[in-house]
């Protein structure tokens, strides 16, 4: 399945960011996007058009689970929760990402 993310992000990174966000507790799509934007100090803006397909991919891989609930502002919202399989996947992706980042850094410093 092709990984389809924000073109400004490295491939596959969006899923990792979502999973990381969900380790803080269940959250809905809006909250996830807000969190990533806020923590990255507006550096990363998640287009909702890529957020939801990414969430669907995570759902189908059973890395997250979803259920309808009531948001903090008393609205109906769909909450996502990370599953144990999702935590394992996250750890893997973080390792891969670190490895990649280090490689890129070496290339850039060498140049």
């Amino acid at each position: 399945m092709p990984t389809n993310t924000n073109p400004e992000l490295l491939p596959g990174t969006l899923e990792m960011l979502i999973l990381k966000t969900l380790t803080r507790g269940p959250n809905h799509g809006y909250g996830i996007a807000q969190h990533i934007t806020r923590v990255s100090q507006d550096a990363l803006r998640i287009g909702e058009g890529s957020l939801y397909p990414a969430l669907q991919r995570l759902l189908m891989n059973s890395w997250v689970a979803a259920e309808w609930g009531i948001s903090e502002t008393n609205r109906k919202a769909r909450f996502y929760k990370i599953t144990p399989a999702g935590r394992k996947q996250l750890a893997q992706e973080v390792r891969d990402f670190d490895f990649q980042l280090a490689a890129i850094a070496r290339v850039m410093q060498g140049a």
Binding site: M1, N4, H28, G29, Y30, G47, E48, G49, S50, Y52, P53, Q56, R57, M60, N61, S62, S71, T73, R75, K76, A77, R78
Partner: protein, 853 residues
Amino acid sequence: MNLWTHLRYSFRRRRLARDLAEEMRLHREMLEEQFASEGTPPAEARFAAQRRFGSAMAAVDQSRDQWSFAWFDSLLRDLQFAWRLLIRQPMFTVAATLTVAFGVGANTAIVSVLETALLNPLGLRHADNVMVARVRIEKLQMRHAQTSGVEFREIQSMTDVFSAAAAMEGRAWTLQSGGEATRLVGQAVTPDFFRVFGEYPAVGRFFTPEDDNSVVLSDSLWRTQFGADPSVVGRVMMPDDRPYHIVGVAPAAFRFPAQAQAWTPLRLDPKRLLDSQRGNNMNLGLFARLHDGVAPAQAVDRVGRHVAAINSTRGRSSKLDYDIELDPFGRYIAGDLRRPLLLLWSAALLVLFTGCANVAGLLLARTASRRKEIAIRISVGATHSQIVRQLLLESLLLGALGGAAGIAVAKFAISLLKHLVIPGGSMLEFVSLNERLVAYGFGLALLSGLLFGLAPAVQLLRQSQSSDLVRSRRKWFQDIFVTAEVAGAFVLIVMTFLLLRSLWAVERIQPGFDPHHVTTAYFIKPKNDPGFLDRLQTALHANPALQSASLVNPVPFGGGGFTSGFIIKNRERRPGEPLRHGEMYQVSPDYFSTLRIPLLRGRTLAESDTASSPLVCVIDSRLADRFFPGQDPIGQEIGMYKGSARIVGVVAAIRGTTLEEGSRPTVYYSLAQVPFFQSAAIAVRSTAPAASAIREVVRRTNAAVPVYDVKTLERRMGESLGIRRVLAALLTTFGAISLLLAILGLYGVIAQVVSERTPEIGIRMALGARPSQILSQFMRQGLRSGFLGLGLGFLAVIYAKRWISGMLYQVQASDPATLSLASVGILSMLLIAVWWPARRASRIDPQHALRHD
């Protein structure tokens, strides 16, 4: 991601789309709120939110792609399409379905018998790992013989390959209950017997080595005699008026041997286990269970090495070719049924295969006529692989339909099979259609679907646009199918002829006695009633319903016999004289007249030959011819079972075990002079059914005597012919069907070619071709594949010759008359099949044909 999740999402995607749309709407509302709270005016906030959100529809679409299997969707569409096509051509669908159904049904039914006979005999659940040990001494023509105690001791000690071993010895008791005497059969078994078969008691326990005078009941005995009372353990049963303590009840599924009603402990005398006792008292059945993970071949190898060691230390036995045969339990039970069943299975596969070839031919023809439709689909963007998938799906669907119908056919066929009269037929009771067999049948049907769908699909794949090329290729395919069909039909027809001829030959054999209107019944001689036999004969003679009555042991065609070596007094064995070996019967004086066995010389046995008078015997002409050639045997003395007996008469030879086997040298003793057998049989001649009269006479003579195994002689002989009859009947059916299929196949091909080429023929006729030219052209084309098929069939018959000759009688597998009759018969039918459409071609009216398209 696994397939299951994918399928689940695929089926639920409408709800998922709703969920996603709702979720995104809520998200947008939150964004609007956020913008509004940051001070943007409401209308602008909504616009901003929408912009921020990106294309909502695109997101939904993207997600939808993830949920669904694109190919799964189109698969469903193709399936619907295929279904509509099949419904639109009901004749074709019904014909193809029936063809597959018959092939699959016949196969499944036969495999169900095979399974019961070879894999799961008698319905035993845990017998897969059980091996049977029997003795073979080739020099004495002794095969499948039971063992002595020595072999039991040896097999039991091979703990590296066997986890348990047990011996059993037949027993029969008389049980008195409610004023009725019944014969109880069972086995005395060593303690591990049930463990070998992996069985646990339904009630109570099985035997321990300490047990003596205890008994384990079969489920049926427990139900009939004890009303399935669970507290039966500890009660005492009195077979043969001796007390046996009931310790347990075997599970209902455990029926081994098939007739066994009870098991008692077998305590082997230690003397029977001594090496010197090898070959003595060979009346033990010997069974051993393989350790888990040990292959039967390993055990056979282990026993083989052991036998080699024995033979090398004992020079004498190696000259005798002493061997211990080790067979899987299933093969032991199936015995003689194995070969006929395998033959029927291959015949059924052949029928299925011819059927497939036929359906493939039909499909090819149909694909050809669908060229336009397919061309249109390709021009609007269908890929070749999509078209091929579509074609394969259609044929798989046909296969599935045929499979479902085939299972129904098998169910019906199995219920018919249960009525067969064959030796060992009691096992047919356990034949049933289990889920494994249904899977086999259905798998076979789908495989057939794939097989006959492949031809049009391959043809399409190769379609290199030139339509002439395609046509010639299709014909090439169809020729192969027709050739194969003719070959298959030829093989089956030849086999059928051979088996029918064997059956006729065997049925024409005169057994040497007149079996019509003779009823026979076994009884157990009472131990404490010395005058019983005399009173019984008097009572039988006094009964007006019985024209003639006598006693005999054993009954001819009764499935058993007494075979023994004998000596001729005062006569050295001449060089080249056959082994002095023969059959023994004990009879009452009237036996020869009851069975109408002619007396050739001297006298028959008489009332005056009693226990106190000198021992005499009557021999048959076979023994006389073989051992007293050119001499008068009367007055000579031979010794077989008891001292020397003077020969007083010679009677005609009879065939006593099977019709096929020639008669063996036979000695008849008087029942009064050789009384030491437990049972004997009554043989009466009566035009009316005599079974109840026999029972009544015995009951009134001594109510404590059980009567069993009551059958007419004709029925006993019929059982020995059963396999031949069944084989001949089934093969006749299979052969006729495959021949019909081959004829239809050939007819179909030629008819289709004719209809396709009608305009061309019209032109040729208009240009002056004569009808006879057209006729012979098509005839030649059709007969070419017919001849080729016959040739292939010939080769197949020659190849299979060795294999089927064991089932034939007085006819060779390569019998020229049969082969030529079958070829001429098939050829003439093929001629008609070809001539019909070819004649139509020759009668085409050019005027009409040219306007045809």
